[in-house]
């Protein structure tokens, strides 16, 4: 216990780490808030700069950015009706009408306090459940990891994109990109075309920055002329009465957020929408109707999406499976620092786990401080014109990609992925599954082959193993249920059931 506390307090007592977490949170809030800059973009560009840093410094900064970024999206959702991040979509539905009524300050204040409460619930869940899940995950077999990887990619693909097929395509493309290079098991070249520079594989940081930085910047070219509407912001400290009144709802939706965040493949955006839905169904008589600036509808998604941060760390640190695009990027960062997220992380480097928990707590406190102050400068910065922002993103992306290995070829990769990402985004594809595929592809490949070797190359035994072990069976059923729910079969089933219930109609 003493050791845990001392590891958790490192970030609080070392002034440099304290500074990094605080500056990370502040930067995260602004990055998350500026439409066109996403927290995924910021994290992917930033991890390349922290490459040469000591691991604690890098973790402190990244933790701050993640925490701040998830919250920051709510600011622009309230003030401009543009969610700065997908997790703030539900916030915009209620926050913007409040701002139009002149209650922008109150909305921001309430959002901040509830986000912090949600954040702490998520962190508490991480601290309590990660060690349990980790000890359970040690029993996981290579088959289970293969299934978890598949479920993760498919969930991100199904829940965020325009269509299931597009999500699947993006995920498979990512897996394929991850396969390029020498096969780690047999050292055979895969898609190397005899080119030496391809043998080391495609640098995934270049892919991340290309897909999340350059592609996003290019998409933003379409929104160059969108005018910014200003809102009046005054009283920002929320009323104690309001905090007390909505605390129950915030705690309930934080629970939802943590669980959704902890599921592989689902992150803050899904958590926020489900929490909003919960608030809508559980609030019988709201003061203001939903959709017109109802505080319940504001509190629920904000508490949930920040709770999902702690939740998302659970599968990331215990199973090595990223919860969403941001955690996929963070896993990339952990790999770069020589860490191996997975069940052994808590066994081999428990100090790092508790350090992360401490850093998350500090970032959450910083969120409270920065969330309730500096609103006036904030409105100025958010109005930064896109014509200035887009070229700057390109320059930062180039620096970030170059910094990782000082190899100019990586910058060309970045541009190529940026262009591919642009067209994918324009045609309704999500790029999150691609990155998940790049990160998880090699892991799934090696686990598939280990499972196949374990079955002595017999396909019958291989498939039998998927149903004959309890953990694997549960995961197999989850995967099949997910696949079925996306096929016409399920729609026919619902139609048939509806027809049976209402035979006349």
């Amino acid at each position: 216990m003493g050791e845990i506390l001392s590891n958790m307090s490192i970030v609080w007592t070392d002034p440099w780490l304290l500074f990094l977490t605080a500056i990370g949170t502040l930067a995260g809030i602004y990055v998350g808030a500026i439409p066109g800059l996403s927290v995924t973009m910021a994290t992917s560009i930033l991890i390349s700069f922290t490459f040469k840093w000591p691991v604690n410094d890098a973790l402190a900064l990244i933790t701050g950015i993640f925490m701040g970024g998830v919250y920051g999206g709510s600011r622009t959702a309230i003030l401009l009706n543009i969610p700065g991040a997908p997790s703030a979509i539900a916030t915009a539905i209620e926050g913007y009408p409040m701002a139009k009524r002149g209650d922008a300050g109150e909305a921001i204040g309430l959002t901040t306090v509830m986000s912090v409460i949600g954040g702490f619930v998520g962190i508490a869940a991480l601290a309590m459940f990660a060690p349990i899940i980790s000890s359970f995950a040690i029993m996981f077999n290579s088959r289970d990891y293969l299934l978890l990887g598949l479920i993760g990619i498919l969930l991100v693909g199904t829940l965020s994109g325009e269509s299931f097929a597009k999500g699947v395509f993006a995920g498979a493309l990512g897996v394929l990109i991850g396969m390029v290079g020498l096969d780690p098991m047999t050292a055979e070249g895969r898609f190397t075309f005899g080119n030496v520079s391809l043998m080391g594989g495609i640098p995934y940081v270049a892919a991340m920055i290309g897909f999340f930085g350059v592609a996003e910047a290019l998409v933003q070219l379409h929104q160059l002329d969108v005018a910014v509407v200003r809102q009046k912001v005054d009283r920002i400290i929320p009323k104690l009465r309001d905090v007390k009144r909505y605390l129950g709802l915030a705690l309930r939706t934080s629970g939802i957020g943590t669980i959704i965040g902890a599921l592989p493949g689902t992150g803050g955006d899904i958590a926020a929408l489900l929490a909003y839905d919960h608030a809508k169904r559980s609030t019988k008589n709201p003061d203001v109707p939903f959709g017109e600036g109802c505080k319940e509808g504001l509190v629920a998604p904000e508490a949930a999406n920040n709770a999902a941060v702690g939740g998302a760390y659970i599968p990331m640190l215990t199973l090595g499976i990223p919860g969403d695009a941001v955690t996929a990027v963070i896993i990339g960062a952990l790999f770069i620092h020589g860490l191996k997220p997975g069940p052994l992380l808590l066994v081999e480097t428990p100090h790092l786990f508790w350090f992360i928990v401490g850093a998350l707590m500090l970032a959450n406190i910083c969120l409270l401080v920065f969330g309730l102050t500096g609103i006036r400068i904030f409105t100025k910065i958010v109005e930064c014109p896109k014509g200035v922002l887009i070229p700057l993103i390109i320059v930062l992306s180039a620096v970030g990609t170059y910094a990782i290995q000082n190899n100019p070829v990586h910058i060309y990769w970045m541009l190529l992925f940026g262009v591919i990402g642009y067209f994918m985004k324009m045609y309704g594809f999500q790029v999150g599954p691609v990155i998940l595929g790049v990160i998880l592809g090699p892991m799934m490949d090696s686990n598939y082959r280990r499972a196949m070797l374990g079955a002595r190359g017999d396909i019958g035994t291989f498939f039998w193993n998927f149903v004959s072990h309890p953990i694997t069976l549960v995961l197999s059923i989850a995967l099949i249920a997910m696949l079925l729910s996306q096929t016409p079969l399920m729609r026919w089933f619902y139609r048939w059931r509806a027809a049976r219930r209402h035979p006349g109609s």
Partner: protein, 164 residues
């Protein structure tokens, strides 16, 4: 039925391109180790590219069925009917390509300054003096934050013997 108009410019062409790419990827994956075993290096790439072929076919089919619904979603289409390949995009891509190609010769600082100045002038359309001022401020900020504070190695140009 009105004349079929795809939801977004070139959507079907893009779907076809995806199919061609996926088939090529499958053919290349097959080339790794063929069907010689179930745990060889080529199996997983083949599975991934086969998944891509199937999903790309579904995407192409969906783009046909979407067209049939245009009458119901006319408003949504009007909103999303912006062209994908705009002049602005092409100009920016040319500027970015020029920037990346010029970087080894000019070095990071000079190439970035030139790129930023040209892009600010093109995208923002304020006076040249304002664009120049913002360029100088941004390049200085990037240089100090990343080179001095983060100690990132920035590409140096051959033209000025690595001075910048």
């Amino acid at each position: 039925m009105s004349t079929p108009s795809p939801k977004r410019q070139g959507e079907r062409g893009f779907s076809l391109l995806l199919i061609v790419f996926s088939v090529t990827a499958f053919w290349q994956s097959y080339g790794i180790s063929g069907f010689s075993g179930l745990s060889t290096a080529g199996v997983f790439p083949m599975l991934a590219s086969a998944t891509m072929i199937v999903s790309a076919l579904c995407i192409l089919l969906q783009s046909f069925s979407d067209t049939n619904n245009t009458a119901h979603t006319a408003v949504a289409i009007d909103e999303s009917n912006h062209s994908v390949l705009t002049l602005r995009l092409v100009v920016m891509l040319l500027l970015i390509s020029g920037y990346l190609i010029a970087m080894p010769a000019l070095g990071f600082t000079l190439a970035s300054a030139a790129f930023l100045f040209l892009s600010f002038s093109y995208l923002w359309r304020k006076s040249l003096a304002v664009s120049l001022l913002i360029t100088v401020v941004s390049v200085t900020a990037v240089y100090f934050i990343f080179r001095k504070l983060f100690q990132v190695v920035l590409p140096k140009g051959t033209l000025l013997q690595g001075l910048l």
